[in-house]
Symmetry: C2
Subunit: 140 residues, 2 copies
DNA sequence: TATATACCCGACTAAAATAGTCAAGTATTG
DNA sequence: CAATACTTGACTATTTTAGTCGGGTATATA
């Protein structure tokens, strides 16, 4: 079980912004250098963050991105949502009229994965971007 | 984020055994039919479960597998361990002398993923195989 | 003792997901 | 008008996943 890099980089980049941001825009180039993330990849990520109203952009020289909300108002769950990264623990398809394993009944472990999913989602619901900065004062 | 099928099938198969088992061995063929899991794949999975002392086997006609411990003594964490399925949330390499992102410092989100990892592991530590059966009396 | 059943084990592979890159822009500032 | 920086979709190499395949070995029962 692993989280994908896009989600991880998104959190990393937004944490970076929370830490370094004042009012003026931060360029992806700066984030790229500080966090060692490919610039081209960051662009892809920020496009989604923008579409989901987590950041806004300013073009041109001295342009860049700014957080729309305060770091202590940004839940990690929002970030994952923006990147379409869902905590998906099930093998079975909830939407389907069929149950799991192609049968019409739910599989024996169905409830378990549901529980786990909530367990993890709760974690991300309760975690704010600002929490990361507090713990990591001494980190780049 | 997703769990792999091997782990899911392992839990499913062991839950099946907990439910249907008395003293006599259960063949993979039966589990395969009841849970709609490929027989060949189950063999692969049970090899690992056996090596890790979760089940023991009897060969030949009427052979099969038996749980070594009681379902209420088998933690889900043990099952994942048997399949080398680790809850891996980090992008950085803990073992390396370097930190994350090829730098010597830990990345800004390092602690976060550590926390999540513990959060999930705790869930699996506290969950027993027997718990699945209780909830799923009415399931196959 | 023959035969069917069922475990044992390593190697292989098609398909999907991941982690990016690339090309070709557009907008803004200095 | 040049440099900077965001915008967007398409493309692709690599890795992982989710299995299959082939060729065993051991045992029970007829």
């Amino acid at each position: 079980m692993k989280l994908n890099t896009k989600s991880r980089y998104a959190v990393m980049a937004l944490a970076d912004m929370s830490k370094f941001s004042r009012k003026k825009p931060i360029s992806l180039r700066d984030i790229s250098l500080r966090q060692s993330i490919s610039l081209l990849y960051l662009e892809q990520i920020f496009l989604k963050l923008k579409k989901n109203n987590l950041v806004k952009s300013t073009r041109g020289t001295n342009g860049g991105y700014v957080l729309i909300k305060d770091p202590n108002e940004i839940k990690l769950s929002e970030i994952f949502l923006a990147l379409d990264e869902k905590v998906k623990t099930l093998g079975c398809n909830k939407e389907s009229k069929k149950g799991c394993n192609g049968k019409f009944t739910k599989c024996i472990t169905h409830n378990l994965w549901d529980e786990l999913e909530s367990h993890i989602n709760t974690f991300f619901e309760n975690k704010k971007l600002s929490d990361l900065i507090k713990i990591n004062q001494n980190r780049i």
